[in-house]
């Protein structure tokens, strides 16, 4: 009796899945895309909203943009401060990427080519900055700079960013090295190239896409980092820190405009990177 019931239920179930399964999947995925993009689109739309309270739609305007562009502050959002913090962010990210791409690539080469005692433990340490909560990393650096008496500012922020960016670069380059054909290097050596020449003309061109991808990810990580920077930058501002301060004070049209500009700037950057490099993910 119960067996008949369960087999009828199973038949019903599989007919249901056959008939509506694909549609349900597609529907769910579409809802998820909506979930991911609605907040961002609403944010962009509200930056053109003609209302001081910034939430309810009152009509289209570009006055917040023109006010900020002409250097006028809207409800505590000071465009000059935003500009300074943007410059700081770019400066930190560029220096960080320069150092960490070099060190990270060397590290990846070493991990790929040599076996040494304690390699597993060492690799674990290299992965750690990616896994550890940013707040723990930021605060440990704060304590360290405090007891060594280093005054906090852009320099200490760069030091901290390099510490986590090295790992990102190393992992991306390491992935690229996994399908690297070592016989090409041997051929170059056999034909008389020195070690440096081999690296310059054979190894580097082959791993270049990985190095560039690592540098791009490193740039994004450094540019976007808030938590680590927050604890070690002292009184200076980066764009995320400036933005965090604005958001804490509440919602205002000025914040909407800055947020929209950050978003569009990032997408432009990603688009450019794609155009130059091809897909980076």
């Amino acid at each position: 009796m119960s067996a008949g019931y369960s087999s009828r239920f199973r038949r019903f179930r599989s007919r249901l899945m056959e008939k509506y399964g694909a549609a349900a999947l597609a529907g769910e995925a579409m809802l998820m895309y909506l979930f991911l993009y609605t907040p961002v689109i609403v944010l962009i739309a509200l930056s053109f909203n003609d209302s001081r309270y910034a939430i309810v739609w009152q009509g289209f305007t570009t006055k917040w943009y023109s006010a900020l562009m002409s250097g006028e502050a809207i409800a505590r959002v000071d465009p000059n401060l935003a500009w300074t913090s943007l410059k700081n962010s770019v400066y930190i990210a560029v220096v960080t990427v320069g150092v960490s791409t070099t060190f990270g690539t060397m590290l990846a080469l070493a991990l790929d080519r040599y076996d040494f005692p304690g390699k597993q433990l060492f690799t674990g340490v290299v992965y750690m900055p990616l896994i550890i909560p940013s707040i723990v990393m930021g605060i440990s650096l704060l304590l360290f700079f405090n007891i060594t008496g280093m005054s906090q500012g852009l320099g200490t922020a760069i030091i901290g960013h390099i510490a986590f960016d090295i790992s990102y670069v190393a992992i991306i380059v390491l992935a690229r090295l996994q399908n690297f054909d070592r016989t090409l290097e041997e051929a170059a050596r056999d034909l008389g190239a020195s070690e440096l020449e081999t690296f310059r003309y054979v190894t580097f061109p082959l791993i270049k896409p990985g190095v560039i991808a690592g540098a791009l990810l490193g740039f994004a990580m450094s540019f976007d980092d808030f938590v680590v920077t927050f604890f070690i930058i002292g009184n200076e501002n980066t764009l995320p820190i400036f933005f965090f301060g604005m958001v804490r004070q509440g919602i205002s049209p000025g914040v909407n405009v800055i947020a929209t500009l950050i978003l569009l700037g990032t997408f432009l950057f990603v688009g450019l990177a794609q155009a130059i490099q091809g897909p980076t993910w």
Partner: protein, 339 residues
Amino acid sequence: MASQYDISDPEHGLRTRVLRSIRQHPYTGLLVNIAPASVWLGVFFLVPLAVMFVYSFGERGAFGTVLLGIENLGLQQYAAFFVPSDTGLVEAVWISVAWTVEQVVPFNLELVQASPTPYYELTFRSIVYGLTATVVSLVLGYPMAYFVARAAPERYRNILIVLVVLPYWASYLVRVYAIKLLLAKGGIVPTAIAALPFVNGEPTLLYNAFSVQLGLVYIWVPFMVLPAYASIEQIDFELQEAAMDLGADRLDAFLRVTFPLSLPGVVAGSLLVFIPSVGAYVIPDLLGGPSTVTIGSFIAAQFGSAGNWPLGAAASFILMAIMLVSIASYLRRAGGDFL
């Protein structure tokens, strides 16, 4: 002058030989390549962690100073974290366990009168937030990954996956702010809900547990979708057909063949969502209120306004312990080292 470059010169010959043997030693290349990164990671990552470890055994002095003398070192911060002030160790363990059971079981259960330390409660809350974010991300993200990998037309697959990745490149502070904008009083979502016929009054959606957990899911769900997608895409779907030929229906074939095969992606995704959610600081700070203090915002407060550095350092190591345990147990269950 020429003799200076004469190879037969014994001293010079020795130096060349030493140099050459150093150059050709297999560890020379290793050292040169590995030194800069390891010095940097050693000095600016491991040493700071060690400093923090020492601080976590210290004591708070007057005016927020930290006492690190030998007579001040001890486990007092960890004790303060877990043991309520007027109870013994065994009693504290019982209170914490009983309280946790009370929270977890769905029916009303009264095991103890006393409550554990507030620190224990906020640690528990962070873990609950982390687990909720992970489960919700899995339930929402897995079908999406399955759709993109299997059901979507091939020519749209790339653009669909780019659309999942794109938010990740955008600043997460901006995206958290976008959530705040939607949920704020008078914002679009509360207004829309209030407009429903059977609802009276605007619901409060911001600065509570709901907004924090929504924020966590919103920010981290792409991290579930991507590994799940990568796993599902690699599955040989003839296996599923074979199961169906042998009499399994669609659901059985999915649950017993396809899903287990996609487990590596699910495990990786779960860790990628759980770890940052437990230690989250920005999201509870911007979207939460006084009742949603998590261990991340607690740690930050100890190094800011509350000014108790040793306690904050101890909390940081407790957070790291939670994460190490969760990673280890999760990987053991999944039985692989695919991370």
